[in-house]
Each structure stands twice: as C-alpha cells, then as structure tokens.
Symmetry: C2
Subunit: 225 residues, 2 copies
DNA sequence: TCATACACTTAACGCTGTTAAGTTTCGGAG
DNA sequence: CTCCGAAACTTAACAGCGTTAAGTGTATGA
C-alpha cells in the first residue's frame, strides 16, 4: 500500500509549487511583491493552504534562500578546480559578484535581508561541506592560502581571512544595489570597479614578497607558482 | 505681524516632534516598529496629522536619514584634522564602523534599506561639502592620497578609491548586522576583525614601496611622512 | 462680524500575515 | 457496505498596515 507515499509525494509537489510561485513572483516583481495571497493566487489555492506546508512566511523565504545558496555553491564547485588558492579566491570573488548582479533579488534575500537565523538541521545545506556551503568554500581556500604561506604572517586565521574578502565583495555588491541611484556618488563602471575591489583585497592579504609588481594582477597569475 | 512666523514655527515644532518620535521608536524597537500609527500615538496626534507635515512614510524616513548623515559627517569633521591622508582614511574607517555598530538601526536605515533616491534639493545636506556629506569627505581624502603619490599608480581615480574602501567597511558592517547570528560563520572578535579589514584595504591601495613592513600599521603612522 | 485658511480628526479603503472553524475527500477497519 | 478518522483544503475573520476623502473646529485678516 503505497498510499502514504503517494500522499507525501503529492504534498511535496504542492510545496515545490509554492516555492516556484514565490520565486517567480519576486524575480519579476521584487521582494515586496511576494505576499502569501499572491503566491496562493498563482498556484490557485487559498492563502491559508500555504500554512499547511510552511509554518509562516519566513519559512517560505528561508526555503527559497536554501536553494539559492545551493546554486551559488554549485557555481563555486567549478572554481574548486583552480589549483592556486589565490587565483581560486579571485575567481570566486568574480563569480560571487556576478551571481549577485545577475540575481539581485535573490542576493537581497540571501545576504541583505535580516531573517531569524536559519537553524542548520532544518536546512537542506550541509554546513561545512564546500560543495554546498559557499562560505565553507571560501574558508577552505583561505586555509590553503595560509598553509602555503602565501598570506601575510599576521593573517593566520582562515575565518578572519574569509571574512575580510567576503566583506569587501559583499560591500561592493550591496552598496551598488542600495545606493546605485544616489546622485551624490558617481559610480565607476561595474567591471573596472569590481576588479579593483578584488585586486585590492587580494593584494592586501598577500605576503609582501608575493605581491606582483604589475598593476592588475591579471597578467601575473602564474608568476607566483 | 509675526502671525505667519509663529504658525510656521509651530508647524516646524510638530515636524520635529514627529521625527523625534520616529527616531525613538526605531532606536528602541527596530525598523519594522516604525509605523505611522505608532508615531502618531507617541506624539498624541491622529495618524493622518503626519501627512500634513510629510508626503508619506518614506519622506519621514528620508528626513531621519538626513539628520543621521549629518551626525556621521560631524564625526568625520574632527578627523579632517589628521594631516596624512592615509591615516585620515584609517581613522575615518574606524569612525564609520564605530558609528554603525553603535547605531545599528540608524545604519540600517541609511545604508542598508533601499529607498527611492533622495533628490538633493529636498535634502538638508549640501552634496559635495565634506563637512556635511560623509562620502565627499572620503572622496577628498582619497584625492589627496592620489595627489601625494601614496597610492598604486593604477588607482588614479578618487571616486574609485573611495568606493573601494567604502565597500570594504560597509561590507564588514552590514554582514555583521545581517548575518551575525548565523551558525555557519564563526565571527572573529569585532575589534580584531575591523582592524584587519581596514589594514588590508589600505595596504591594498598603497603604492608598494610605501607599505610599511609592520603588521598593524598603528606603530608606523609617521614612518611615511 | 464674518468668511476663509489652516491644523487637525474621523471613517474608510484595500492591503498585509495569520488563525479558528468549517468543509470536503478518501483510505482503512469493523 | 458502512462508518470513522485523518488529512487537505476553504471560508471568514482579526488586527494591523499606509493612505485618502470628507468633515470639524479654531483663529486670523478683512
């Protein structure tokens, strides 16, 4: 009797319908447009039906975040192949900024909207696994850079290094998003700007002798190896 | 006859009452607690009375932001006395982070909440005046650093440099604020962490020969001069 | 003294997240 | 076959939100 299983499968289907509708809504209309009633309308259920699948609205949002975190981690997985930790860090920085600018609503939700902390057990993401947890990826890369003696000696803490580079790139992304239309700041072109942020961060953590003399770092990738 | 003047003065009084109440509300209870009805209750007016003084809720919020921007600029004004642009930049970074962590709700409002761009004419802040506009202060400092040949030659654009260091520090602050309770990131102590962010940023923009060999920069302040 | 301009209030609209109670549907036990 | 109970879902409602139209009162200038 696979009745129970079928029931569960059907319920799961509705659950994903809800998530898909919610995602579509705020990809098209932005975060504020995601309301329980609009989700319900999109999937042709009553608003209260959502509460049978999620405790409240925040739970819907958190579930969305989870899958988006996974997408970011997936992008990072390809970058894991880069052998040199510094170049891996650089590539991750570009990928992160690119992800953010391509999916601004997702990014807002994931990193700029304060929601009550996500308890790991109810999340689909395995914390610490660098194939699923993007932060763990950066942590791992920072740790390798430290091990190989590439960083300044006082930067001997992978958490600290990860937080430094993450701060720089997140800062760039989030300022662009919230203040891009402000008249009092004359934003530089995206490409040049993010390159500069990443270059400065990496140069700032590198051990002095390791820092290449060239300007943009691009041409000096293998010089260290 | 000063009737008109008195009327205007009284109206201005109510206006500041509204702003004070709004500020008190979200300092104590956070951003979401600031509702028109609660403001009205606090000042013992009806909710609609607010609309006689502000076009809508966003206008109230914008007015709050303005005065908070001014406060930050006031802190920067003291730092303007630091002669060396690099040390001035460092001091501004610490002041900025300190301001943010001391007034997290203000900071959220000012830099992390997307509101429709603030047209300069309806703002009290004189854009570009470094005594009122904190961004102008950083811009000025970055410009001086460039003029004095302290920065890497490819960083010849004050806007770009200002945006780089602002990104780094804003990133640190805003990640702390939105993700400080996340279990998957092991935050380092504030003091050490912000020092590291500022050190890395500054070292990343400095012309190589100029970079002092010491770790924290603190002891090397005058070494360059 | 009277009309008017102005500050303000009352009542309402349409929206939000959320809940209590009611309805429908359907598999399994007697 | 019948009846029970559980599960999925809906309807109606509550309290709150920002905002607006209409109405009230008061003080000022003519």
């Amino acid at each position: 009797m696979g009745m129970k299983e079928r029931r569960e499968r059907e319920k799961e289907e509705v659950r994903t319908k809800i998530l898909d509708a919610a995602r579509a809504l705020f990809v098209e209309e932005g975060y504020e447009a995601v309301t329980m009633r609009k989700i319900a309308q999109a999937i042709e259920y009553s608003p209260t039906a959502i509460y049978l699948h999620f405790r409240d609205k925040k739970a819907v949002i958190n579930a969305l975040c989870d899958t988006d975190f996974l997408k970011l981690a997936t992008r990072f997985r390809k970058i894991a192949e880069v052998a040199d930790p510094i170049e891996r860090l650089r590539a991750a920085g570009f990928a992160y900024a690119d992800f953010a600018m391509r999916h601004p609503n997702h990014y807002r939700l994931m990193f700029m909207t304060p929601h009550p902390p996500h308890s790991p057990e109810e999340s689909e993401i395995e914390v610490g696994n660098r194939d699923e947890d993007a932060y763990a990826f950066v942590l791992w890369t920072a740790g390798e850079a430290i091990e190989q003696g590439l960083l300044r000696p006082e930067l001997d803490d992978a958490q600290l290094v990860a937080q430094i580079v993450w701060s720089a790139i997140h800062g760039w992304v989030s300022l662009r998003m919230t203040k891009c239309n402000e008249p009092w700041v004359d934003w530089r072109p995206q490409k040049r700007s993010i390159e500069a942020v990443i270059d400065v961060s990496i140069r700032g953590i590198l051990r002095p002798q390791q820092a290449p003399a060239e300007t943009s770092g691009r041409g000096a990738r293998k010089a260290r190896a």
